[in-house]
Symmetry: C2
Subunit: 376 residues, 2 copies
């Protein structure tokens, strides 16, 4: 029934796979990293720069767009793609994460979520149906269901309640989505934390609704990594092979490659972009805190092995100077580098899966990520 | 003696002319606009963007670079061009303007200037010779002499004293510069405000030193525009035709075209870049304050007549959204537009002089600049 996603290669030594997701705005190769463009731009970059770095899909934030400029304004401008002039695929999250983490006065009931805008305190009520409708109106390629999750650490009881709500909301989301005649696709989000039974229940209930894709919500919040990976392994064993799997909000390279090895296809994270603005840069030899005095006269590029615009043209000394002077261009050049670093890793991951060398790449990426500071 | 500059066309109806300035890092077509890159970057842009906008020379700030990262650091990195990775010509100002406007505890004597760093209060002494030496060491293409000017409004007495100091310092600067074996060039700065006799005295004293170029300092500080233009007309009548003339720090388009008509060749100003970051955008139909609510659903480009990346791709609604969200990308896209607008005007100015239509262009630019707000 859903031909939007198909796998192309499968790694013989792990559950890693490559695939293609078809959307109304083009095809996305997976495993894919989605740069975060919450308000309609990857912070600091032009779309031309983001495209030339090789991004095939970006993530926008329903919560932020809902508050400003508002769904009506986006729709009046012809939808998100026209409004922000980005021609490629867009995934919007449901806003759940921001509601629970940014908004004051959140009240959750069976009907949906009531919360106050973190900007002006205005009361907003969002039912799962509303969240589907607003994403349909904005014209995003991939919509996410409204989910619920408890803050970590949580009891099994609260995790159970989250699964109950998320399941009920997913059912209503799917029903509402079916009323729209659209080529967009709706993905479900599973909850249940690292509780095997709860996660199983959540995923199986979603699968009954036959979503176009399945996401893992409520992970990466502080739980032990081994439990996280067990959850992914178990969950992916349940999920259909012909649907994309999306691990929401997690971006450490060492976690990404483990998750890819377990069969995850989609990732998003603010890590490369936010760190770039804070002067923390990822290199093939470990992290570089560019403000460090020791770079003041370092004429080498950030990463000798990197082919990005920043590394091809500028020294660490200059990058440090711009960072220390609080120049906007510092954020621009750093973001170009960090985003290139991430998107390049995903290119390498896809290539390695297609050439039977994923396991080797995985080992080398994990060993490099273990270097908290650059080795020389 | 100095073949670095030559005029190529002269407007028959005014003193406007086109010319070519040869430097160790390439040729600059004049009249030229020098984008301001105080700390080594045009704020918000990559060098690639600045180059693709057509900038042929940029202005860096000796005062800022002297304080941080320091001349030693720049020299250790191989000079300014290598340090910032900008391959084209660089002009550095002498730092005088920043010393008088930013530094506390400025003491001026015949010997030079003593001032406190506005960063940490450290006492710094700069003699005219030091200012030459530091610019030579940084490897800039065009060096400016240390000058002195009084704050406006000033008495004739203080203006006279400024001319005396500036003249003496220019002589010492030239003498020191002659000790260096370099293809760099040193330009003198005239003072004297709008006092005809003082300006004459200042310019004639500079001409005795035979500088490679002549700048107007101490203008654009609040004096009546008619007096400013009289000063330029008078001064240019004195200056040799085969040397470039530079009006420092002035950038309103209506002033620029008048100054070009009077024979000025070089300009620099923070106006396009600073205004861009503040959301004030220059268009062929007047200024646009992009934060204005009326642009919230305006799907038109900023300027239908503009060929810049921003206007070719984005709506006013999106630009307003980015500005209101305080996105870095707002500064980037706005700066691309405003800088394109300026550099394009200079391209048009040069072309019009070469095709005998400068007077027509001048009228249209002045009439457009008179529109303080966009006309529709």
């Amino acid at each position: 029934m859903n031909a939007a996603f198909r796998t192309t290669f499968e790694d013989p030594l792990s559950a890693a796979r490559t695939g293609l997701l078809e959307t109304p705005h083009g095809t996305v190769e997976t495993p894919a990293f989605m740069p975060v463009a919450s308000q309609g731009t990857v912070k600091g970059l032009t779309h031309a720069q983001v495209e030339s770095l090789g991004a095939q899909i970006i993530l926008l934030n329903s919560y932020h767009l809902l508050l400003r400029p508002g769904v009506e304004a986006v729709a009046a401008m012809g939808g998100l793609h026209a409004f922000i002039s980005w021609p490629k695929p867009i995934l919007t999250d449901s806003g759940g994460f921001q509601i629970y983490s940014l908004s004051p006065l959140v009240r959750v009931g069976d009907e949906g979520v009531q919360f106050a805008s973190h900007l002006d305190g205005a009361r907003i009520v969002l039912r799962p149906e509303d969240v589907v409708d607003l994403q349909v109106r904005m014209g995003t390629d991939v919509l996410m269901c409204l989910d619920h999750f408890p803050p970590y650490p949580y009891t099994e009881e609260t995790a159970k309640e989250s699964v109950r709500l998320t399941t009920a909301w997913a059912r209503r989301s799917k029903a509402r989505f079916a009323e729209h005649d659209t080529r967009q696709q709706l993905w479900g989000i599973s909850q249940g934390g690292i509780h095997r039974d709860l996660r199983t229940r959540s995923i199986e209930a979603l699968m009954e609704q036959d979503f176009s894709g399945y996401a893992y919500g409520g992970l990466g919040l502080g739980e032990p990594k081994t439990r996280l990976f067990e959850t992914l392994e178990h969950g992916n064993g349940l999920l259909p092979r012909d649907r994309p799997r999306y691990l929401m909000g997690m971006g450490y390279v060492e976690d990404v490659v483990e998750a890819v090895a377990l069969g995850v296809d989609f990732f998003d994270c603010v890590l490369p972009t936010r760190n770039a603005r804070n002067g923390t840069l990822f290199t093939s030899r470990g992290r570089v805190a560019i403000k460090n005095q020791k770079y003041a006269r370092d004429g080498r590029p950030l990463d000798e092995a990197c082919a990005c615009y920043t590394c091809r043209n500028f020294s660490r000394a200059y990058l440090r100077h711009l960072y220390e002077r609080d120049e906007i261009t510092s954020s621009v050049l750093n973001t170009i580098h960090n985003l290139h670093y991430y998107l390049d890793i995903f290119r390498k991951i896809r290539h390695s899966i297609q050439s039977n060398s994923f396991n080797l790449l995985k080992k080398s990426l994990i060993s490099n990520a273990a270097q908290k500071e650059e080795t020389t």
